[in-house]
């Protein structure tokens, strides 16, 4: 990649990231020298086939894992050097997560799932407000078992954004959904990015989704293969697969 020019409005700045997993006696390199900035307010899509290293990258950027070498700078601090406690605080205060399989707490209602996060966040929005943002005002008192997959994922998005995170990380958010429901979920993500200005990273292997991004990063074999900027973002409603 070219010379190291830090974008003036970078929220996260990753340099020389590599990650090697040790399984038994085998060393599996998952990332090999990745440099990447997440720019404030942008919607970035990390595109790649399974095993390309995109999830590993997201896990490191999200503070779930540490790189084998390299650094991730956030607000002047290096995530790679943080201990578990500091990483927990980083996730708690600054990162919102949306998972492929929603990961809602079955024993809590939609609102309560959101409140789970707002209770421990420094400056959250109200749970009702977050649920209204994803269009679920009508179903706030339902338990996960009473919601459809798309609805569950929108609760998960509400839960992720309710704390007003600096960064929203979405790992295959539509992976378990059909195309129509997936579009609704992407809509919710695009809307929060637009309205709240949250820096948003979406991981997917679905190339169609790349069209809704400001920037697309193609990952393969643990390296960044290509970075391209979309001149115009498509609305999720215009996408289908």
């Amino acid at each position: 990649m070219g010379e190291d020019v830090t974008h003036p409005k970078a929220t996260l700045k990753a340099r020389g990231l590599s990650k090697v997993y040790h399984t038994g006696e085998v060393e599996v390199p998952a990332l090999a020298g990745v440099d990447l900035d997440l720019i404030e307010g942008e919607l970035i899509v990390l595109l790649g086939p399974s095993g390309s290293g995109k999830s590993t990258l997201l896990n490191i950027l999200g503070g779930l894992d540490r790189p084998s070498t390299g650094s991730v700078e956030f607000a002047g601090q290096d995530l790679a050097q943080m201990n578990d406690k500091a990483l927990t605080l980083y996730r708690r205060d600054h990162v919102g997560f949306v998972f492929q399989f929603y990961n809602l707490v079955a024993s809590l209602t939609a609102r309560e799932n959101v409140e789970l996060v707002t209770e421990i966040a420094p400056d959250p929005m109200r749970a009702d407000e977050a649920l209204a943002l994803v269009g679920l005002s009508e179903r706030i008192n339902h338990f996960p078992a009473e919601l459809s997959g798309g609805e569950q994922q929108r609760v998960a998005i509400a839960r992720a954004i309710a704390k007003r995170p600096g960064i929203l990380m979405c790992d295959e958010p539509t992976g378990a959904l059909d195309s129509k429901t997936g579009v609704l979920v992407l809509d919710a993500i695009a809307q929060t990015n637009r309205e709240l200005g949250t820096t948003t990273a979406v991981i997917t292997h679905n190339a169609v989704i790349a069209d809704m991004a400001d920037r697309v990063v193609v990952i393969g074999d643990g390296r960044i293969q290509e970075v391209r900027e979309n001149s115009a973002r498509k609305q999720p409603g215009e996408l289908s697969w």
């Binding site: 997560f97 492929q100 990961n103 079955a106 996960p144």
Partner: protein, 792 residues
């Protein structure tokens, strides 16, 4: 190598066990505890029963015992002719006092005549060391093994002991050390526990005893064996009729022979234990197996679907899980067998201290193992069959798809729940979602507390028993007993002995009490008005004066006779002028030991027409002049025996401490196994079920502590709720013990101290905390990345 030879499914069994080894071990240990208890008690029961039967058989233990004042030898023939009598032995049996070196207070003993150069037909002794009595040696004595052992190595065959017989000091040479079927359990009359140092049994040649006790040509004790099928009551009645003119105090059978009574009592107690304790452990093991296997199978849905999709039959899948259950069970059973044999040998060692058999092999018959193993396997199968069946019948298509998310609902107390934080709501909803599971975990914890209270309360009960018996009722320092009732001036002599501060006389006459067909041999004890030392307690344990006329029955005697206040009891006195008295019951008193009957001292004297005569005296003494007092007691021929409170209490406490320590250690270990088994399993299963949920929360920024709170908080609630129930059940268990140990010899007061509650609760809480910490470490290892990738 072994693994390679296994069928793939069996490899899976081995690997699954490897991954859940801690849980499997916890369950196996609970099974082992139940099996061990069963094997130990059943084995001990069997060993004790068989040993006793063999001992009695081999050494000719008698069926009927008849004491009397003095009968001529010629009477033996008449007694032999009583229909039903097979063999008879006559003998001389007397009380003696001993002056043992290094002991201030005199030791007590029984001395019996024993044939020289010939074996008796009944009650033959077992020679443990030394030799039998030699002809013509009138100063030789055989001594009970327990007494010899208690006095250490200095005393043994060849040594000399000083015995005060009929007031005369004699130095006797120990010829041999023996054991007797008649004294398997040797306890001094009136004592709480055997004190082998202060009570011994001795045998001498008949001629020597005849000379010492002026019994030439006479005997004062006869023992009988009966023909098979003989009517024991008829024999006793006929014997009593013949012996009445000779001061017979009434014959009795094995049922109230002290030694056999104690052995039987112990056997009954073991039987209770075998029926009572193992089911508790097996029920808990069943519960654990059920929960663990059911939940674990739930996590195996996909594997089951896969196996069935590959073409494995329902049966093969079922057998696969049954194998897993059986391996855990068999490990438990085998550990239980080993533990049972080990505890059993330990118990046999304790038994040998109190019950003296020439041989006591702790032996467990194959039947006990088969039964124990069979019950263990059956319980395991029954508790898991449903889960295994459901798993095996799961259609592959359904099994391969993830189970629907758990349906939670609002609980009835939702209004209250809404005031809680989200993690607390998760706890409450989870508890309410699986009420049965929560209830069972709670009950398991409660059972652990209860088992502890049920064993530790014995110490409290014993202290209470001592307080009631010795601080409230019998407050004398020593009780002196004469060979026979003495003239009133004997009391003045006792009062003038050195160190005696106070003395109260008592009179005791043996009698047969009957009321509406119920019959009981008991002595009538006359105590004085305004007694300060030996007092009667009313039912509220308040001391009261003995009524001037009429009879006071102890609660136990009142129950046995079925007679209460206002009833008239017939008392046939078997000594002195042998009057038959009609005595109205005027009071029922509370006693923890024995089943005594009391009367006013003067009133008893009047009806016996022996006013003022006393059988002995209760004495309060000056501790500083004890040595001089004991010296005089040893040298007073009229005094047959002395019971000293401090030594009696000391030996009682020592014995209890030792036994209760052993039992309590066992029980603490067992209760900890239960507590750990329940708590650890509950925690681990919850963790594996909710790993994904908890890991997700970690991803969302919850700290390790906050996440642990959700899991461990639930268990903490179940433990906290269980504690009061455990205390309640423990009290109930203690109550059951007092009922099952309520005998005519003693009763155990239902007393559970705060310390016992506190200690029991602490043990369980500590076990729970240890389990919690082990789980906490596992929570720390949760894989957050994995949680994002896997579906429910």
């Amino acid at each position: 190598m072994v693994m390679r030879a296994l069928h793939p499914l069996d490899k899976k069994v081995v690997r699954d066990l490897g991954s859940m080894w801690a849980q499997a071990l916890a369950i196996a240990l609970v099974i082992a505890a139940g099996i061990a208890m069963f094997v130990m008690s059943e084995g001990m029961l069997e060993s004790l029963n068989e040993t006793r039967a063999a001992y009695y058989e081999r050494y000719g233990f008698t069926d009927v015992f008849a004491p009397m004042k003095r009968a001529p030898n010629a009477l033996e023939k008449r007694l032999q002719q009583v229909p039903g009598v097979r063999f008879i032995e006559t003998r001389i049996k007397e009380r003696v006092t001993l002056d043992m070196p290094g002991m201030n207070e005199p030791a007590q003993g029984q001395i019996l005549s024993y044939p020289v150069g010939d074996e008796p037909r009944l009650n033959r002794l077992h020679l443990a060391s030394g030799r039998w009595l030699a002809p013509g040696q009138s100063d030789e004595v055989l001594v009970s093994e327990t007494f010899i052992e208690a006095h250490g190595l200095g005393v043994g065959p060849g040594a000399t002991i000083t015995v005060i017989m009929n007031g005369r000091k004699r130095d006797l040479k120990i010829a041999g050390v023996v054991l007797s079927a008649e004294y398997i359990y040797a306890i001094q009359p009136g004592a709480l526990m055997p004190d082998n140092k202060r009570y011994g049994i001795f045998w001498m040649s008949r001629t020597a005893l005849e000379a010492a006790f002026n019994m030439k040509g006479a005997f004062n004790n006869a023992v009988f064996s009966l023909d098979p099928g003989a009517n024991e009551d008829a024999v006793k009645a006929a014997v009593d009729l013949i012996l009445e003119p000779y001061g017979g105090t009434g014959s009795y059978g094995r049922d109230i022979q002290i030694s056999d009574w104690y052995v039987s009592g112990e056997i009954d107690q073991l039987r209770n234990m075998a029926q009572f304790v193992p089911p508790i452990f097996l029920a808990i093991a069943a519960f654990l197996l059920n929960v663990v296997i059911t939940r674990w199978i739930d996590t195996e849905r996909e594997e089951i679907g896969l196996l069935k999709a590959f073409g494995y039959s329902t049966w093969a899948v079922g057998v696969h899980y049954i194998k897993l259950v059986m391996i855990i069970t068999l490990v438990g059973v085998v550990l239980g067998f080993m533990g049972g044999m080990w505890f059993g040998r330990g118990l046999a060692g304790i038994y040998q201290e109190f019950f003296r058999f020439p041989f006591l092999h702790f032996h467990i018959s194959p039947g006990v193992f088969t039964t124990a193993g069979g019950i263990g396997v059956l319980v395991a199968l029954l508790s898991t069959v449903n889960a295994v069946r459901r798993a095996a019948l799961l259609p592959p298509s359904e099994a391969m798809s993830p189970p629907p998310p758990t349906t939670y609902g609002r609980s009835y107390f939702e209004g209250w729940v809404r005031r809680l934080s989200q993690p607390s709501r998760m706890i409450v909803r989870h508890l309410v979602r699986w009420p049965m599971r929560s209830l069972m975990t709670m009950l398991g914890n409660a059972a652990a507390v209860a088992v502890l209270i049920g064993s530790m309360f014995f110490m409290d009960a014993m202290e209470e028993l001592i307080d009631i018996s010795f601080n409230r009722a019998e407050r004398q320092d020593a009780t002196l007993t004469f060979h026979e009732a003495m003239e009133p001036r004997a009391l003045e002599n006792i009062k003038s002995m050195p160190g005696v501060l106070q003395a109260e006389p008592f009179r005791a006459v043996s009698a047969k009490l009957t009321f509406r067909g119920a019959e009981r041999r008991e002595s009538l004890t006359g105590i004085v008005q305004g007694a300060h030392l030996s007092r009667i307690l009313d039912q509220d344990l308040k001391p009261v004066d003995v009524p001037r006329t009429g009879l006071v029955l102890s609660q136990k005697l009142s129950e046995m006779l079925g007679a209460g206040v206002g009833d008239v009891v017939i008392a046939q006195v078997t000594e002195g002028r042998r009057p038959t008295l009609e005595l109205p019951v005027v009071q029922v008193s509370e006693t923890m030991m024995g089943s005594p009957a009391f009367m006013d001292f003067d009133y008893l004297g009047r009806v016996m027409r022996e006013e003022g005569r006393l059988s002995g005296a209760y004495v309060l003494m000056d501790a500083n002049r004890e040595a001089k007092f004991f010296h005089d007691v040893k040298n007073t021929p009229a005094i047959a025996g002395i019971a000293v409170k401090t030594t009696m209490l000391q030996s009682f406490r020592d014995t209890m401490a030792e036994n209760v320590m052993v039992m309590t250690t066992f029980n603490i270990a067992f209760a900890a196994v239960i507590a750990v088994g329940v708590v650890y399993n509950a925690a681990r299963i919850s963790l594996s079920e909710r790993a994904r949920e908890l890991a997700s929360l970690r991803v969302l920024g919850f700290t390790l502590g906050e996440v642990s709170f959700i899991l461990l908080g639930e268990l903490a609630i179940l433990i906290v709720v269980a504690l009061p129930f455990g205390c309640l059940f423990g009290y109930g268990l203690a109550w059951l013990w007092t009922i099952s140990l309520d005998t005519d010899l003693y009763r155990i007061p239902l007393e559970v101290s705060r310390q016992t509650y506190g200690m029991s609760v602490s043990v369980v809480v500590v076990a729970a905390i240890a389990s919690g910490l082990a789980t906490f470490r596992q929570i720390g290892k949760l894989d957050m990345v994995q949680a994002l990738k896997t579906r429910e």
